[in-house]
Structures are given as C-alpha cells and as structure tokens.
Amino acid sequence: MIYLLILPAFIMLVLSFWSVQKSRFVLPLTSLLILFPAIKLFFLPKPYSIWGTYLVADDLSAYVMLVSSIVAIGVTLAMSTLGLHVEIKDRVYARFYRFFALFWIGLTLSIISNNMGIYWIGLETATLSTVYMIKTNSSLMARKEAWNYMIVGAIAISLILFGIILIYTSFKPLLGEEAMNFSALLKSAKEIKSPFLFEIGFSITTLGMFIKMGFFPMNLWLANIERASFYPVAALFSGVLESAVIIGFFRFSKIAQLVNPLHLFIFVFIYTILTIFIVSFLIYRSKDFMRLFSLSGVEHMALIALFWASGGVFAALLHFGAHAFLKPALFLSTGILESKGKYKIAGALRGYSGVKGKVFYFLTALFLLAIISVPPSPMFFSELYGFGAMVDIAKKHQHLLLMIGAIMLLLVFLSIIFYKFTEIYQSMKYEGVEQKRVVYGNEVLALVLFAFSLLALLTPWSFEFLRSIS
C-alpha cells in the first residue's frame, strides 16, 4: 500500500529529469495517478495498518488524503496552461513537478503517519520542497519571499519538533518507547503523570503549526509568499500544504482534549480570535485578489482549528473540506482574472464570452459567494454547526456572558470580512469596464472538478461520513 501511495510521485520525480518537451505532456497524466491510491485507501476497512504502528490510516487521514489528492489533480490540470497567462520558461514545468513529487511524498507520510516522528519528517519534506516550488518563479520578489519562508518554516518546524520531544518526555514514564505514536498517546492520555509538561510541549508544537498556517502574529508572510509564487503553487499552498499541518493539529489537540479540554479551548480560542481580528482588518484593507484570498484562507484555518478545539469535529472537517476545494479554485481563477494585469478588481469578472467563459464566470461568482458562507455553501453549514459547538462550550463555562461576548466579537470580525467580499463581488461583477478575456478548457475543467467535489460534500452521505469520524 505504501508503495502504491508513493509510486506516482516517484514516477513524476523520475520523469521530471527527462527532456522537457516529452515530459511536459506526460507529467499531468502521471499526476492523475495519485487519485487512485487515495480512493483505494478511502474504501479500505479502517483502521488500516500500512506499516506496523508507524503508518496507520484511519477515517480522518483517508478523508484528508482524498481531498488533498483531488485538489492536487485540479491544480496540476490548471498548471498546464500557466504559460498562456504569464510568460515562463519550459523547464519551470519540470522543476514544478520535481518538487511537487517530493512534496507529495512528504505530504502522504505526514497524513497517514501514526507516529509523531514520521509526521514531523513528512511535514519537513513538504516544507522544504515547497520552498523550491516558490522558487520556480524566478523573480527577485519570489526569491526574497522564499528566503523568508525558509526562515519562518525552519523555525516553525524546529518548534514543532521541540514540542514533540517535550510531549514524548511527558509520556515517556507512562508508555516508554510507545510514547511516540498517536494512538497509544490517545489511549493513555487520561492517566498522564505530568499534564503541565505535556501542555507546554503541546503549546510549543501548536505555536509551530499556527505559525506555519499563518496565524497571529505571522499573518502576512503566507499572503506574501502566495503573491510571489505562481498561482498554481499558491493554490497548492492553501489547499494541500495547510491540510498537512492541520491534520497534525487535529491529532495533537485530540490528545490535549483528553488531558484538559478547557485549557485547550481557551488557548485556541484566544489565539484564533487574535488571528481573525488581525486578518479581518487586513482583508478590509487589501486591494488584491491573491492577498485577499490567502488572508481569508488563514481566517478559515483559524475557524477550523477553533471548531475542532471546541468539539465541533463535524463542523471542522466540513469546513476543512469546503476550504480545501474553494481556496485553490479561487486561486486558480485569480490567475485567470489577473491575466489583464494585477490589482484590477473592478470589472474583473466581466467580458467572459462563449461557453467556457460563461461557465467560468458562473463558477467563480458562486465560489466567491460560497466563501462568505452564503447558503447553500458547505461553509454555511459548517459555520452553523461550529458556532453551535462553541456556544455549547460557552453554556457549560462559568463566565457565560464573557464567552457569548467573545463569540459575538468573532462574528463581528467575520462580518467585516463578509462586507469586504460583498464589495469585491459587486465591483467585480458590476463595476469597471468590460474587456475581452480568455479562459482555457483545462482551467474550466479544474473549476468544474472543484465544484462537483463541493456538491459531493453537501450530500447527506458525506455528512453522515463526516459525523462518523468524530
């Protein structure tokens, strides 16, 4: 199974060293292969041990795997016409696929790992490969941002490892060598000797992850990177890399929840409120699609973390899925919208003619509305249930009014974002001048793929599946 999962990536890696002209058309096809193992994994009985206790796939990882592979396929689809929107050298494709393969290997490891160590290794690999994916765009800005990303990523990674070691330390007396693997930790989290040490470790790890997801205080670096790199890369960032991080957060916070749910909730709550406070006002100011979307991506990540920490597993997973499909879709469409020059929001959605154009127009408009959780977008339901979970915790808490107030504050920040997106939507659709714009088949195909995946999320079957995960 493990080979099956890694194989397509290896093929890609090898092919990418082949001459560009030949590989160029083979590579996207090979990238399609990553879907099949994901599907296979999805339908295997859970928990399914892939490699002893080190790699064990459960429902959560299968779900994340499936979502990520769909997103990756969509992105690679759109990648093949990158050259028609921005002028690039051919070898860029090769480099992209080379590091995409590495990235995919790392990602797979971190998603299906049942072991803190392997999870961390996967994460590290993914991070390092993304650095080079940024550098595929050989502009000065991109190089600068890549270097910044290097620093931030390295620090985040080392913090995560530091935390992992502390967690290991705190569980060592209890489990001995077993203290590395998640399931064991989950089992014995209740009778841990030194919750304090664990919580310190957890907080350091979480800080690392939050930094990597672009939470407070590092709200801008992600946006800068995604601005600097090519739009498919940005799409990968927001759609896939984030998922590698968030699944780690899911796993660690499950343990923390058993150790002390209230501490976890308050920690995450304060952190996310700070994040969303900053992000909402940054969004309110931003005049650029790319930054706008990546900031709202940060916001959604924060919401996911918050929902998860407040026990709304279903809401968190639904929101995660919706985010994973919507954000890359929007990033791809951004690349197309910006083909007539960056920072032009007014009238960006006008002038798309023909069937492809109409479909693109329609889908992009829908995605924009979906992202501000207007029904019937999945985000609507996820936010509904997520806030429900939070209110429940608030009702159990002794400072009820305080909590309700905090939740209202959160909603106020969200409504600022809502306002901004409404403005953007309207000015894209109704303002500005109409000029001829082109969109290519494969891009529309990618968007359609995302749209269908979103619809699939909305089916009662998937709801029921997500409920079963918790």
Partner: protein, 198 residues
C-alpha cells in the same frame, strides 16, 4: 559530570551571544556542539544506550568539526564581513538573558514533582532554545543566522538527550534535522552566489 557539561553548553551559547567576530562565533558554536556530544556520550555510557553514544560521536564529527570548518570555508570564499555587530545593544542583552534564564527555571519548576528526570534540564534546553532564537534575532548578517539555526538544533538535541534519557526515533529525527540544516546552508550559499552574480 553531566551538570558540568550542561553548564558548559549554556555558557558557550551565552558567550556566543556576545561575540562580535565571526570566526570566534564559529568557534563558540563548535565548543557548544562539542559539549553536547560529550554529554550525549557520557549519558549514553551511563544508561548503556548505544544508539545515543553513536549519535554522540556523530554529533562530534558533524557539528563540532565538519560544519564549523565548512562555515569558515564559506565565509572565506564569499568574504563575508567578519565584523558582526549585534543590533541589540549589549545592555539590553544583559537585562534580557538572565530574565530568560530565570523565567525558564520558573516555568519548569512545577515539572520537578511530576517527572523522574531532572526538571532543570528541561528548563535549560528551553532557555537554550530561546537564546539561540535570540542569536538569530540579534544579527543581520547571514552567517550568524545560520549559526542561530544550528544552535536551535543543538538545543533540540540537548532536550532529546537529557530530558528523555534514551530515545528511539529521535536520533533519526535529529539526523533529519541536520539534513534540514544542511539544506538551509546550501540554500543560503546559492542565495549568496546569486547576490554575488548580481
């Protein structure tokens, strides 16, 4: 013996914070790694954990000798400025570092009664994490930043070694971390080259 080495580790790190010359910084770093390696080896002998001894020797070779040497070569090759001014005034550092140490001990105090092994070790490794972050913060030039990274990694290794006496996967993790560091270094070199070209 253990405590002495740990003290040495911390001392070298702190002195590294105050140095203003590149080569001396590199020297302090290698001493720092050396003490770490010796620490690993002694503890390894103490609890009879061979993997730890191995990793100790590995550290000795790689970090105490190889990386400092490479760094020096690089700095010669690209003629990096040997004069490195910390952009945080010294009196601030004097205020800050003891505060950090005190805080970390205060932080680790509740661990003592929960854990078999010595809580101060945890405290020291956390503080060394902070100190190496500080090292990264206080320098603008690239070489000290690299050294900051490396000493973050050292403090990780310290934690792995002393707080959890004997660890299975973490050795490998340490190696992966060295890989990360190596890649960082190479990346930086390329960056340098590019900037040299321009």
């Amino acid at each position: 013996m253990t405590s002495f080495l740990i003290g040495l580790f911390l001392a070298t790190l702190i002195t590294a914070l105050f140095t203003m010359r590149l080569y001396r910084l590199i020297l302090w770093y290698s001493l720092n790694s050396l003490s770490l390696a010796l620490l690993a080896i002694t503890i390894g002998f103490h609890i009879g954990d061979n993997s730890m001894i191995v990793s100790g020797f590995f550290t000795l070779l790689l970090k105490a000798i190889f990386i400092p040497y490479i760094l020096k070569r690089i700095s010669l090759r690209f003629s990096l400025s040997r004069q490195i001014e910390p952009n945080i005034p010294v009196y601030y550092s004097i205020m800050l570092i003891p505060a950090l140490l005190v805080f970390t001990f205060y932080l680790a105090e509740p661990i003592t009664n929960m854990l078999s092994s010595n809580a101060n070790y945890v405290a020291i490794s956390i503080s060394s994490l902070f100190l190496s972050l500080l090292l990264m913060i206080e320098h603008k030039n690239i070489a000290p930043k690299i050294i900051g990274f490396l000493s973050i990694e050292n403090s990780l290794f310290l934690l792995g070694t002393i707080a959890t006496n004997g660890m299975p996967m973490l050795i490998e993790l340490g190696i992966f971390f060295d890989l990360l560091m190596a890649i960082v270094v190479i990346n930086l070199l390329f960056k340098q080259e590019e900037e040299v070209k321009e």
